[in-house]
Symmetry: C2
Subunit: 102 residues, 2 copies
């Protein structure tokens, strides 16, 4: 077994809630807080915490605006987030490839 | 995006250190504590903690014996561990399949 891909897994992305958020954002130009919450069945608090962690890592951009006089929060992957996520998926593929044979 | 495979990821296995341990044990009938530690480049304390978590979940069996008058600890996947790990890998494959297109 080659331990390298395990050691290289990005802890920020690997956590399953954040992995789901990154995957959802990879599939859309942007998503609102409400869309993410409903898609991923998370609580407000849980989603807020994960988004802050992803934002602090530079993986997502969070934009606060107003629509119809109501606050609107939208999230999108940054270039760094997209690149890091692609690398993460590559590591997962290596892990699956080397474990599937057993 | 289908959130189901993310929600189903087993937290005990998903942590990257334990994922590495499960993968190593899936590739061998059993491994000693020393073999695991050297293969995965973990500290004694870190490996001990992860092994206890996996043992409490019923995913590995830990056997303590003596070889040449020295204590020997060996670890092996249980049937439940092997089955749960196979299910986990299947979920990872679903996640990769649905994110690769973007």
């Amino acid at each position: 077994m080659n331990p390298a891909p395990f050691l290289q897994l990005d802890r920020v992305i690997h956590e399953k809630g954040r992995l789901a958020i990154m995957s959802a954002l990879a599939a859309a130009p942007e998503l609102s807080f409400t869309e993410l919450r409903e898609l991923l069945q998370m609580t407000d608090g849980n989603l807020t915490t994960h988004l802050r962690t992803l934002q602090e890592a530079g993986y997502i951009a969070v934009t606060k605006s107003q629509r119809d006089s109501r606050p609107l929060t939208t999230c999108a992957l940054t270039k760094a987030g997209r690149d890091t996520f692609a690398g993460y998926l590559g590591l997962l593929e290596q892990i699956i490839a080397q474990t599937k044979n057993f």
